[in-house]
């Protein structure tokens, strides 16, 4: 371990491992209060990935508009790199062509990450339950945290879904 730490090539990785180990020890030592602090930080800065998959993105856009203003709940408007994101809102239908890409996007996001399935199509296939090119829900692709029903869901429903997710994060283990 120590040898790796002084080796020029493996040093960054070893540092990460060391910091991670230290964090684990710290969490175990302090326990619950730290959980609360970490989760509190996560709740109020959820960064969604900018991935539109179908027509529900119209209502996602409306949710960021001045009338609904989802930002006041700590859901920041979807712009930026997916490497800094921790929330993926699946906006509607996932087709067979999109499914591998969706999984790729999800895999590239850093942990912890949360998934909201928005719209009937993302939950069960919705109106397109019998289409040849549509997945019957995204459960087979991603682990979903919150389902937001509607076709498309109203922005209020989406905001409620986000608040439910925040409740869920509050009760999660911090690290």
């Amino acid at each position: 371990m120590l040898k790796e730490f002084f080796n020029q090539e493996t040093a960054p990785h070893a540092t990460n491992v060391l910091v991670g180990k230290l964090g684990e020890v710290l969490v175990k030592a302090i326990g619950k209060p730290l959980d609360y602090a970490i989760n509190w930080g996560r709740i109020w800065s959820l960064w969604p990935v900018h991935l539109e998959t179908a027509c529900c993105s119209v209502e996602f856009g409306a949710a960021s508009s001045p009338r609904y203003d989802v930002e006041r709940f700590g859901i920041i408007e979807a712009f930026g790199s997916l490497r800094q994101c921790d929330l993926i809102v699946v906006m509607g239908t996932i087709t067979r062509k999109m499914a591998p890409r969706l999984r790729m996007v999800y895999d590239q996001m850093p942990d912890p990450k949360y998934v909201i399935a928005m719209g009937a199509c993302a939950i069960t296939g919705g109106l397109y339950f019998d289409s040849y090119n549509v997945l019957p829900g995204i459960d087979g692709v991603l682990p979903v945290d919150v389902y937001v029903p509607g076709c498309p869901p109203r922005p209020e429903t989406l905001i409620q879904g986000c608040m439910l997710l925040q409740e869920k994060i509050k009760r999660m283990k911090g690290a």
Binding site: T95, R96, K97, D130, S131, Y132, N133
Partner: protein, 215 residues
């Protein structure tokens, strides 16, 4: 129940006037059945206006006099003409339509599958931006290509000449038609897949023998 019809005009499953029940009655009985419920019982096929519009007639006459029996004038209606031709002649007819008649772009290329007669129909809807007289007109140019029971897109006899060198705008429409019906367009530079997933291995989905889930 009749109030429910008036509200959304859609046969609801619970209504006792469901179409299955209605079909089992004779025609007079059905008529009476609907009339009792206060529902309009108009004939199924509309009565079309008989007179043929003169301007559209003049266009179709030009095509007919040039090609004679090679083309078939299917109908002439206000602003809509439909002609059909054999797939060998379609290039000549298309050049004539573009150069002599003044149609300059394609609005859509639609395939229609007819498994009973073992044919796929390809319909080009052509329009004009430049000719002031033709702006309301849409000319449907149809042709039929043979259809095979077990399709092998690109390699079987389901093929026809591409109209891309006549109407450049058909490029993406023909690509769509190729993947959805398996009609190979000879002379099209780019017969690649467009909308379907890259790993699509089933038969072209818009053919009638491709059944969607649960149907």
């Amino acid at each position: 129940m009749s109030s429910e019809y008036e509200k959304d005009g859609q046969p609801s499953k619970t209504a006792d006037a469901s179409p299955e029940d209605a079909n089992s009655l004779s025609k007079d009985e059905t008529k009476k059945f609907y009339e009792d419920k206060g529902i309009d019982f108009s004939p199924d096929s509309p009565i079309r206006p008989k007179p043929i519009p003169p301007f559209e007639k003049s266009i179709s006459d030009k095509i007919a006099s040039k090609f004679g029996s090679k083309v078939n004038i299917d109908y002439v209606r206000p602003s809509r003409i439909r002609i059909s031709t054999k797939k060998e002649d379609i290039l000549d007819v298309a050049f004539f339509i573009r150069d002599e008649l003044g149609y300059d772009h394609a609005e859509s290329v639609a395939g229609v599958d007819y498994p009973d007669s073992k044919e796929i129909e390809v319909v080009y809807h052509l329009g004009s931006y430049t000719d002031e007289k033709l702006v309301t007109q849409v000319l449907a140019l149809a042709t039929r290509v043979p259809r095979e029971e077990i399709p092998n897109p690109g390699k079987d006899s389901t093929r026809m000449t591409s109209l891309r060198e006549v109407f450049y705008s058909v490029e993406f429409h023909e690509r769509e038609c190729f993947e959805m019906f398996g009609v190979y367009f000879e002379g099209h530079p780019d017969n690649r897949r467009l909308l379907l997933p890259e790993d699509w291995a089933d038969i072209p989905p818009f053919r009638k023998d491709f059944k969607i889930k649960g149907r």
